[in-house]
């Protein structure tokens, strides 16, 4: 339905997916904070979304929606990416997890998730109010 297809709805939904994935990645980093040789990972999504909303990226033109997208693509095709940090500062056992930074990111991400949930919840409430005629 078209009322659910506007860019605000889709981007908040995708940001929720990214935040959930990020929470898992940060948990994994914290769980492996003492494992020798482990390299931390992080989730990239917000930059892609910003580029897409400002139309800064160059995207390939596809003749069929099933083709693999080139470059930045439509909002519907954005998805978060997990990148492994191979080259951060490391300590003696080749582990580069900074536990204070990870805990901070955990808290930030949780607050972000809560804010996005509030936002989407508010959208639904507004739609329901409008449909109900304000009664």
């Amino acid at each position: 339905m078209k009322i659910f297809d506007n860019s605000s709805f889709v981007s908040v939904h995708k940001a929720l997916d990214a935040a959930q994935l990020r929470q898992q990645v940060i948990s994994n980093n914290i769980a492996n904070a003492t494992t020798p040789g482990f390299k931390k990972s992080s989730v990239k999504f917000e930059e892609y979304l910003k580029n897409e909303l400002n139309n800064k990226g160059i995207s390939g033109y596809r003749t069929n929606s099933l083709h693999i997208p080139i470059g930045s693509s439509r909002l519907q095709d954005l998805s978060p990416k997990v990148v492994v940090h191979q080259d951060s500062a490391i300590n003696n056992n080749l582990n580069n997890v900074d536990i204070e930074a990870e805990m901070t990111n955990l808290a930030k991400n949780q607050i972000l998730y809560d804010a996005l949930i509030q936002n989407i919840s508010g959208k639904f409430q507004k739609l329901k109010t409008v449909i109900g005629g304000g009664r």
Binding site: M1, H13, L16, D17, Q20, I117, I120, F124, I131
Partner: protein, 101 residues
């Protein structure tokens, strides 16, 4: 002479008629029942997706909890919208029927 004048008028009338016919053939004839059917299909689609999410949730195959809830809310809003529109249409019909002729 009168024939020529009337012929001239006739030709002009025919030209206007042709223009009218061309514009009609370009616009698509979408009837109200088609629109209604499309809308109901979309609502049905949302409802099926919400049910499917519910099944996946029961089977433990869900990655993101918010997906289930958002699908449920979308279906709920769509159904409520359809019901309210139906109410309004029925109300309008009854209003029309009440008119004294």
């Amino acid at each position: 002479m009168i024939d020529r004048i009337s012929l001239g008028n006739l030709n002009q009338l025919q030209k206007i008629n042709q223009i009218g016919n061309n514009s009609e053939s370009k616009t698509q004839q979408i009837s109200f029942s088609d629109t209604l059917k499309q809308a109901l299909d979309q609502v049905n689609q949302l409802e099926k997706q919400s049910s499917h999410m519910g099944e996946l949730l029961a089977a433990g195959n869900i990655d993101n909890l918010h997906d289930v809830l958002i699908a449920g809310q979308k279906a709920s809003v769509a159904v409520e919208l359809t019901v309210q529109v139906r109410n309004k249409v029925v109300e309008a019909y009854q209003e029309v029927m009440r008119m004294q002729v």
